[in-house]
Amino acid sequence: MRIIFTSTGEGWDAKIDPRFGRTDYIVLYDEEKDELTALDNRAIMQVAHGAGPKTAQKIHELKADVLITGNGPGGNAASILKQMPLKIFVRAGGMSVREAYDAYKNNALEPGV
């Protein structure tokens, strides 16, 4: 599974960014390779409108199977994400990436719409 976290930093200890479109980092954990990589998304600060769809495009390019975030994507982003074979989990804001991953493994995360 390729699992994506919206995150405020780069590693396992970084906190989940509750925002989807304007998340600071997109952290990807590839379970098969046991590899954690981070994509700096902070350039999104310069985007006046349409941050959600832009971040959704990046999720698509990363070919993720699972997305773990905080508030959940807004309407426009959700309509793009729905086109992908992607499971979304929300309400992970405030957890670290590791805590969110553990919660996901224990089926303790709330599914997103």
Partner: protein, 290 residues
Amino acid sequence: MKEIVIISGKGGTGKSSICAAIAYLAKAELVVADCDVDAADLHLILHPENSKVQDFYSGVLAEIDPGKCSACGLCYQKCRFDAIEPFEGTYRVIDLECEGCGYCYYICPEDAISLIDQNVGKFLISDTRYGCSLVHAHLKIGADNSGKLVAKVKSEAKAIAKVQDKPYILADGSPGIGCPVIASLAGADYVILVTESSKSGLSDLKRVQELVAKFQIPSACIVNKADINPSVTNDIHKYLNKSKVQHLGDIPYADDFHKAIAMGRSLIEENEARWLPIFTEYWQTIKENI
């Protein structure tokens, strides 16, 4: 640190008055972020001072370098906003018409066109007479509020709350359900919906709650001017119940709202005996449910 956002859907429901009353009551515990940048009003009550001011840039306008322009006229023909005109043998951009789409910049064979970042207003971090910090912005005429600006206001408020060790951010959001409202909801922990007892109040409440539900953020509602149309108020109560929005309370129509604004103070300062118990109860409920 928890982020509370106050929004209304409809304008004129009393949202900012309610926000100011909560800010007054909980001043020791929070940083205030005025995200209603198009019609920022909180400064009228909070009286910001010692502001740290930064220029805010958003969007671009095209600019043609006459030294590089070969006067081919391609940009002039292709601009769908008719924002380019012949001028002294070459072409120039009419700033008021330019939408900053960048089409001319991409097609110009001479690379004579650049896109210039626009200074659309000021971004301020201020002290207030309540002692809490206020993050706000002043836009120039014609400039739009945007998700970018709201995200900036909120991220500065967060940084300040961290430094000052304040447990809450109170964000006054804008009316509607557009990009700035979405940006004000992004990352929020709790939403307070302020509506009024009118058909449009209910209709706009539904639209904005639909958006809040997409973000799966818990919300609560205050029905202002609840006595002016009891049957609509009843419909609002039914809607809140059905949509699992907590009902914080009803406020009857009160002259104190406009009197307080006219005097530049919060409802509680205007009439403490009446409003302090009400807002103390609201704030308690909010803190218990966040």
